[in-house]
Symmetry: C2
Subunit: 241 residues, 2 copies
Amino acid sequence: MSDIYALAKVKALAFDVFGTVVDWRGSIDREAQQVGKTLNIQRDWALFADAWREGYAPAMDKVRQGALPWMTIDSLHRLILDSIVEPFGLAGLDDAQRDDLNRAWHRLQPWADSIEGMSRLKRRFTITTLSNGNFSLLTNMAKQAGLPWDCVISAELFGHYKPDPQTYQGTAKLLGIEIDELMLVAAHPSDLRAARAHGCRTAYVIRPLEFGMGHPPYHVDEDEFDLVAEDFNDLAAQLGL
Amino acid sequence: MSDIYALAKVKALAFDVFGTVVDWRGSIDREAQQVGKTLNIQRDWALFADAWREGYAPAMDKVRQGALPWMTIDSLHRLILDSIVEPFGLAGLDDAQRDDLNRAWHRLQPWADSIEGMSRLKRRFTITTLSNGNFSLLTNMAKQAGLPWDCVISAELFGHYKPDPQTYQGTAKLLGIEIDELMLVAAHPSDLRAARAHGCRTAYVIRPLEFGMGHPPYHVDEDEFDLVAEDFNDLAAQLGL
């Protein structure tokens, strides 16, 4: 826990989205179940969600290393989807059907506390996304789910994915604030560590069900982040809201 | 008026902001009056607002022509302010006081119909800013005034001011839509003509008081734009909302 004077400077909260604000695994599981029902295919669709998500970090790394050109997460999600349809019995989906399923990522549902906690935090802070999701994905998701962002900021605006420094630095610059006036809110220590290394304040929100029941928690050192919260309402309470 | 099939394709409305959504002249007039009262200076502060605004297009042109580097509207506003403090008796303002006055542009107030009309339009369309104002200016303004944007898009994101084509094309791209699925909503025919030339749909909203009482209206040819509206509520009604 850093001192209250450092925290008192914070003007804006930038939220990681996938896993932190929305339950990607449960949402993709439900959408894929519907597709499976229509096609009369029986699979473990939570594992399908996991397989889809597992392709995500390696695909971004390929872009970072230049093996793939810069592309949106929509395009990366589609590449990964095309690579996993076969084992999940979905190879028969045509292009339009795959595009529709791909847009399930625009329709992810928030955790139960997300909207209430964000609304409380919004009373004092500017609240924005800071996600690798593309701008339209984040905008559509917010509209669909009723997420009360003040603005939408995406890695797409910088041509760099998190955890590249351009994303944290670029967010502070767009918001017209100093880097230590920006706090990253995320459920992933790796994202928070990068943000902290570049000068951001950090709030770790524990999302024990992101990967389903019984998934081991991340190891986090004591005092590694400025705040550790059980959910967004707890974060609001810790910030006096 | 174009045919209803073309209008039925529209998915997002991008709004010009200064003059279209907010009353810059009345807002700057009021803020400058307060400064004048504090300093015991008598001036016509509406003319001060006009003088400040008059510097705006020439300053952007200098950036466009390379005589000035790319800079935010905050920086351009400050340059113009510094050039008009003398005749308005404000030369004694120090740097911090000038910065505070400069941020009056972050605190502009909406026209009476703006929020209600936007809220109606938001039910069917994605609504975004498309302004030369910088990202933080637009975000702060929305938060202060309660403007219910789905997202904030600024010329700053493209490194080009309107009416450069990159702004209209870039907005459609960020929103993940085709250019003819985007409608520009603006009170300025020049902005609308550029948007139309690049393939956008257009809605001209008449703001007869933007430059104060008795200012002559713009000349607009019949059928030049897809829609012509008295205000945002009228626009919503014309779009069936």
